[in-house]
Amino acid sequence: MSGGSERVPRLAATGPEPGQGRGPRFGRGPGRGGFHGPPGMMPAERARDFKGSLRRLLRLLAPYRLATLMVVALALGSVVFSIVGPRILGNATNLLFEGIIGKQFPAGLSVEQVDRMLRAAGRQELADMLGRMNVVPGRGVDFAAIRSVLLAAAMLYVLSAAFSWAQHYIMAGVSQRLVYRLRRDVDAKLARVPLKYYDSNTRGEILSRVTNDIDNIASTLQQITTQLITAAVTVVGVLYMMLSISPLLTLMALATLPLSLIVTLGIAGRSQRQFAAQWESTGKLNGHIEEMYTGHTVVQAFNGQEKALRAFDDENARLYAAASRAHFISGIIMPAMHFINNLNYVGVCVIGGIRVARGLITLGDVQAFIQYARQFSQPISQTASIMNVLQSTVASAERVFEVLDEAEETPDPAQPVRLPRVAGRVEFRNVSFRYKPDVPLIENLNLVAEPGQTVAIVGPTGAGKTTLVNLLMRFYDVDDGAITIDGVDIRAMSRDGLRSLFGMVLQDTWLFEGTIRENIAYGCRDDRCPPGEEEILAAARAARVDHFVRALPEGYDTRIGDDASTISQGQRQLITIARAFLADPQILILDEATSSVDTRTELLIQQAMAELMKRRTSFVIAHRLSTIRNADVIVVMNQGRIIEHGNHESLMAAKGFYYDLYNSQFSKAFAEAV
């Protein structure tokens, strides 16, 4: 592992900053942290196996079968009620209309008499219209009838709203629980995959699957399910109602359907392309911004500002062109749909009006029909935008499933050998290992470390000195031969059992967000957890941590973390040493740092490490001459391979690579020193 700074790709991981994260959404488009456009404007991220992944995503709903069925039933109820509503209101209009017409004629006349009167007066059309109606001449508006109709409509609306609310409520529970389980499963999975997975994927890549992708699913799942169900039910229900009112008008309304489909799909396809271009430019531009900001020092020191600005302007102009095209094209979907709907509206008004006038249909029915026609086109355009969201959700789900499908470590033996206390004799017996099958790395290595001995691993920068650590800790398994501890093959033990025997202090000082006390306590072994205050202090003192911690205003309760600048790099390393002291292992793996540690802390680290190594078998990735010369076994590595091993005298006598290395690196540097 290089000491390079961790960088998380995708800006979503660096931002948004607290306080300006995701805002509330009214069931709108998906958000990946930052740069998302309005709904349905995600980049066209397509899943590789859309159907398969969608089916698998749906299968995740299986444990919530009952709740999901409820949701479907509630959606059905809610939609049906809201669909019947306009029809009933239409009846109220009819009653009203009849009352008003009826009032125009003197009471006592029969309908036939009125009809004759009208035809005599040449008002044929009005007479036709009345023929379809239930007019009682002379009687005014029947308010009792209207009241009961309106009350029924109100009841239906209330029920519809209640159902709709219950549906959303239940679905929220289902989707959140599902996402919770998905996160838990992925986390559990990440604990079971071999180290190889971590070494062959970037941190950012893994991170974004656990966070961004699952977040994306979390925020869209409910929206998709409820809207799709509602849309489907609405289309069917509304179509039925329209047909029941007037097949002719329905035909007329449906005539514009292909038109709206063509328009929606045509525009959506075009805008997808523009959005893809916009997304690409955004990515490039943001990459440039990120790069220039992180490298600000270099940009300034090398007079690179103008160059940076030129590159920025180029991409910014491309982004502008793509973005304004994309937003224009996607922006005209709504007006276009509106236009088509209005065509419909005018058509229904005119044809419906003529038919009412001819007495073929009632006014209330036409009114209801107009409302239905509007309701009908809505779910169709809604579905178009939902499909985009669905695309990105399934693509996210697929990436999460990929993690879940990763090969796991070979299982531990059923009856693992337990070594509660070991002497610490470590032997490599005919060990062969390669990371890549075609690149030989370690061939037939034999090596013994007796209890209490020190093995120094030396070699130039980048010689692959961590490979031995990987094998000892079973982060990777040997291809051939065996590694034994006190004569027991390490593969006969459980991984946890094996690792409990080791203490590890790496150059890559990993501390987690928490107090110094918690970070030291991290080293405790299962049987002594959590450790007592005395144990922590003892470990801290042994690791030379105590004195500087006491100087901190909050002492052991000082919070440290990923990037905390409260303590220096060297002090971080001391804390990891304290952790190892607390673990009190029989075998040690140490990495002597060369990176920026100031000289006084360096001295403390040396003292602490020397103390830690007493009476313990130690494997040290060594940089210091004293460590190397005093080691019982020196393993010399170059370009990933072990090329020599032995003690200092024997290696010097062999006049091989070590001899050269020693002469070039150390003798001159230090013989002259001081």
Partner: protein, 585 residues
Amino acid sequence: MTYVLRYLKPYWKQLTMVSVLLLVQSLSNLYLPDLNARIINEGIAMGDIDTIVRIGLVMLAVTLLLAGCSMLAVFLTARSAMGFGRDLRRAVFAKVQSLSQAEVNRFGAPSLITRTTNDVQQMQMAVLMGFNMMFSAPIMSVGGVIMALRQDVPLSASIIVIVPLMALVVGLVMRRTMPLFKLQQRKIDRLNQVVREKIAGVRVIRAFVTTEREASRFNEANLDLTNTALTIQRTMALVMPSLMLIMHLSAVAIMWFGAHRIDSGAMPLGNLTAFISYVMQILMSVMMAVVMLVMVPRAVASAERVQEVLAEVPSVAGPAALEGPSEAEDESPADPMPEGIVEFRDVGFTYPGAEAPVLSGVSFVARPGEVTAIIGSTGSGKSTLVNLIPRLYDATDGALLIDGVDVRDIPLKRLRGMVGLVPQKAFLFSGTVASNLRYGKEDAAEAELWKALDVAQAKGFVSEMPGQLEAAIAQGGTNVSGGQRQRLAIARALVKRPRIYVFDDSFSALDFATDARLRAALRKQVGDATVFIVAQRVSTIKDADRIVVLDKGQVVGIGTHAELMTSCEVYKEIVRSQHAEEEIA
């Protein structure tokens, strides 16, 4: 906020145009139900088919006008909003380019990135979506009210009841969920952090057999987030059903009261249908406006954060009198070749807002052909000291002079052209090896690049890379090792052939052998340039002509290795700490 809105100014013509179009669009939208009412009153009620067709044609014309206006408005809004975003983004980026390291550190690079990308994007979307709404919602509401009044005055009173009711529902839900959204973001951040730690520390976690503890740490954060998200979603589940209910019940109520009005002859039947349409339109506008209102706090927050950057005054700026025309003449051959005598004259530096100075009373002179080393413990101010030379920071006390001229009187570009800096963090840009090496000198020939690589001990690995000089370098140089990165950064400074070299702890990732070879080659290469080396290792600097020992921001010793070994306690301590064991060995 207003400051940021200035960037809308260039688009005022388009936006005025959009407002007019939106006005026409809203009015035609309102006209349609009126026409519908007339179809009923004048056509259907009279049984007059001619009238029905005639009004129908008018409706068609209005519909066409509507579509035309909307599309033109969308076109102009998209261009204006995206143009606004483009200009604002450029302004922020250019501003950051002009800021000194001090300001960049204060904001933090990640925050500046978010401000330039996310926040500008956020505002751009607010303009795009908001502009339409902000104009059409009030027009539609006011117009709707006027039209409703035209249909029937007493019935219009219903609007006074319905609209506040809707606002109340939305307001209550918002008041409850807004803080929850903030909370949710914090919990997402927390979860992400746990995951990040677990990925970074996977070896440690497995080595310490703490997988289970880690799982429970994760689950705690997971459960916490799930609960908050659930509360939010369940609360939000109320919004749409209740708004729809209010709308539907309003229609029912209007039917009821309207029926009485019609019965009493105060209002024609067709007006009722139109009235309901208008009320629905008003309510829809109100709902849209509410949705838009949700965007406002975010957009304002973004605007403030962008504004903070734009308002920042760079603490390091070129000399006022010389800026401008003379900048252009920087490269002119008339400028005498600088000698490179660097003098620190009683230099002090205090970070803005900090209590104690990082540096104080530093005085010494470094001359061409000399190597000046700076050593001291972490936090002693070594990096700060050398960063003052290319004016990444400005001294807050005293003065730094090059060839006798205060650096603040030298045009920035010229000053930085003289200095070759190898920063502590060897940052490489994405591109190729060659594009990185040429960063300080665009026209450098290939031979020059190879020469620099040779000196920097990087020739070996570069010639083994596929494509050699044209080998790809990932952003930040993550595809080469730390030691290789440092050597490439050194080569980059060498290609520039500056008068003054600054190596800020640039050898730390190199092993001793490479370090030694590199320094030997460097000595020959830099010739009579002035060299500064900041180092941790005594072995790196003990041959220097002058070693400046810093302790807590003050110079505690200046001299050669031999001199300091006799005179400087701090230096002796440093040497002892590094070589105690070797001496014994």
